[in-house]
């Protein structure tokens, strides 16, 4: 692929493979459905009216473009590289997830589907899905792990307000992995009217590609905005990784700019050397789950391990297949940040920039804090501030040993 054509941007191949990774590892019942999604997406891409409608919703409904913001006080604080935030937390619904949901809901509508299902971890994708379903008048069912329902209560309430049916999944670790299993089972049982709106750049082909394409607006805007702000490309891009959608959206437009360093930050939970983390590249190996081959946390016998992260949106034992491939190619560096490091960055950002970030990008910020001091003042870092922290206040209060509503 890349070797032959000198680009990192032309994957996947016709079968949905990024080198060893990706593919379509699904039960036969679902094969015709994902082939139908692929055809419908190809059709939509060839139809200018589809792009036009999406563009209009991005601008007038989601609020794009999101600003590129110079984080002056954090730059001063770290005393090195110049730090910019891509402010995707300012999008309608509070994260980058809406970028993908708008694209996919317009696709589902074209396909004549009337019922939408989704999985969610942090609840951000669930909220974004419930939002577009409300807007387009479609039935919405969101599968969410019982543990995540507990720690992301504000988002559960929002989904209910938006008219979604939030179904608790009690099995296993009761987090994102089980929610995705349950969504796939629902889809197998409701093939005629249902569209599965996957929330991250993972799952069977064509989902990793579709989600990447819809999220690439992030990186495309950064290119233009950095050109306007500094007259050149950034030097380093940093994004957190759950399934990898915000990261691939930021990275993809820059993959062939070899001078731009790309860093994905996985969740190290209680530490990469413990069994309680969610860093599938740093701590896992290749395997097959949820329709694709990728890096997974697993036992020697191939049973999937439960992930752990303080951040529900990163608490997943896999990663999108394009990231697995970019790791193999050495094009993107994958590092990790622990729960504690993310919590510290969460507080620092709140106090110094007046922005309460989600716990997910707090992982990315923690890593920015590690490299920025070592870099020169003309080194430009862009971090994807892909979500806001309102949903996390209960979790953070708990971790800090206080309570929401307690006097401080």
């Amino acid at each position: 692929m890349a070797e032959a054509s000198n680009t990192y941007r032309d994957g996947p191949d016709d079968m949905g493979h990024f080198g060893l990774f990706g593919g379509r590892y699904v039960a036969e019942t679902l094969m015709p459905l994902i082939l139908e999604v692929e055809r419908a997406y190809d059709d939509a891409c060839a139809d200018p009216s589809y792009a036009k409608e999406l563009d209009s919703f991005r601008t007038t409904y989601a609020g794009r473009p999101s600003p590129l913001y110079f984080a002056e006080r954090l730059t001063e604080h770290f005393g090195g590289a110049k730090i910019y935030f891509k402010r995707d937390e300012l999008n309608h619904t509070g994260s980058h997830k809406i970028n993908n949901c708008l694209g996919q809901i317009l696709l589902a509508k074209r396909m004549g589907k009337t019922r939408i299902i989704a999985e969610t971890g942090a609840g951000q994708h669930g909220v974004a899905t419930a939002t577009v379903c409300a807007r387009f008048g479609l039935e919405c069912v969101v599968y969410m792990g019982a543990k995540d329902i507990e720690r992301q209560k504000p988002n559960v309430f929002r989904m209910n307000l938006l008219g979604a049916d939030v179904r608790a999944v009690e099995k296993g670790s009761a987090t994102l992995k089980e929610a995705m299993n349950e969504a796939l089972r629902d889809w197998v049982a409701n093939v005629d009217d249902t569209y599965y709106l996957i929330g991250t750049a993972a799952g069977p082909h064509p989902y990793p590609t579709i989600v990447r394409d819809f999220q690439s607006i992030i990186g495309e805007e950064v290119r233009e905005q950095m050109e306007a702000a500094e007259g050149r490309l950034p030097d380093t891009l940093v994004a957190c990784i759950g399934g990898g959608s915000n990261a691939i959206g930021l990275f993809h437009p820059f993959l062939d700019d070899s001078d731009v360093r790309l860093i994905g930050v996985e969740a190290a939970g209680k530490g990469i050397d413990t069994t309680e983390h969610a860093a599938s590249i740093s701590g896992g190996n290749p395997g097959v789950l949820h329709g694709n081959r990728t890096y997974l946390l697993q036992e020697d016998g191939g049973q999937i391990r439960d992930a752990h992260s303080i951040s529900a949106g990163l608490d997943y034992p896999g990663i999108g297949p394009e990231h697995a491939w970019l790791h193999m190619q050495g094009r993107v560096d994958y590092v990790s940040a622990t729960d504690q490091e993310a919590l510290a960055a969460f507080q620092l950002c709140s106090k110094l920039e007046g922005i309460i970030p989600a716990l997910e990008p707090s992982h990315a910020l923690s890593y920015v804090g590690k490299i920025a001091p070592e870099l020169s003042a003309d080194h430009l870092i862009v971090m994807n501030l892909c979500g806001r922290g309102d949903k996390d206040v209960f979790t953070v209060a708990d971790a800090l040993g206080t309570e929401v509503g307690a006097e401080s």
Partner: protein
């Protein structure tokens, strides 16, 4: 690419049953569910109870195509402890005394991928396994395992689903080996009830496109339903209904109640009776058999 496995325990069994003008009863249980001891008792009793083909589930942590019954049984087996080598060991032991009943393994790809497709295929053949069904390996992704299976004279059995349309079916049939497994419901295992007339129409349509035996599974729970399917299908697969008896027959620590193995095997006898008598008396219209 056509299947290269032409002669096996599985093809012989289907030929024999065709001579007798009856369908095969395929029983599914999960290896080591709820513990190795009961599992081995069941394995030992299944051939005499009337199972013509034994299907063994290889448990996986994330059985995405399975409903609650098989999910629970996989979880129990994983708690009891079960590796691929344990499953193959049980089959190898069975082959000491039972040479004619085919054994097929059903599972998900990741444990096999970790084991190594070549190593797995060789070890399975050595143990006396006859074929595999890998739920999440559609024809598009199957070759990486299938060429090792073929090299070891093992069948890779593919599923055809209600959603498998006319353009796609030839692709599935082209890869199929041993028999074609028609998924009788749009859904995961053990949740919906199969619609006989729909299924028989699909099976009749597939007959025109393949000489392979046609099995039907998912959503068949009773001896009466099995008998109805057995009038036109070459094999009838029962899984969740068997597994549910185990679920109902154990305590909170997964300990089987006395007599549980006998209860499971009695149910299999019922099913076998239904399947074996399905085409007797007034049902001649339905029974043309495979490739007829």
């Amino acid at each position: 690419m056509s299947a290269s496995v032409t002669e096996s325990r599985l093809t012989r069994r289907f030929e024999k049953l065709k001579e007798k003008n009856r369908a095969a009863l395929v029983t599914f249980i999960t290896a080591n569910d709820p513990d190795p001891k009961l599992f081995r008792q069941l394995l030992e009793g299944l051939p005499t109870a009337g199972a013509d083909i034994i299907e063994l589930g290889m448990p996986f942590s994330d059985p995405m195509a399975d409903g609650p019954s098989v999910q629970l049984s996989s979880q129990r087996a994983l708690l009891a402890g079960v590796s691929i080598d344990d499953v193959l060991g049980a089959v190898a032991d069975m082959r000491e005394w039972e040479m004619d009943t085919p054994v097929i393994l059903m599972g998900y790809y990741n444990p096999i991928y970790r084991y190594g497709p070549a190593e797995f295929s060789e070890a399975a053949a050595n143990a006396g396994v006859d074929g595999v069904i890998i739920v999440d390996l559609p024809p598009e992704e199957a070759e990486e395992l299938n060429h090792h299976l073929r090299a070891n004279n093992l069948h890779m059995i593919f599923l055809a689903a209600p959603t498998t349309d006319e353009t796609r079916l030839p692709r599935v049939l082209d890869h199929a080996s041993g028999f074609v497994y028609y998924v009788a419901v749009k859904g995961v295992t053990g949740t919906k009830s199969a619609d006989i007339s729909e299924v028989s129409a699909r099976v009749a349509a597939m007959r025109k496109q393949t000489d392979l035996p046609l099995g039907v599974g998912f959503g068949i729970r009773t001896a009466a339903q099995a008998a109805e399917m057995a009038q036109f299908a070459d094999a009838v697969v029962i899984g969740s209904a068997i597994v549910d008896i185990i679920t109902d027959g154990i305590d909170g620590d997964r300990r089987p109640q006395p007599g549980l193995a006998a209860r499971v095997l009695d149910f299999v006898k019922d099913l076998a009776n239904g399947v074996q008598t399905a085409r007797l008396g007034g049902a001649e219209n339905a029974s043309t058999g495979a490739g007829a």
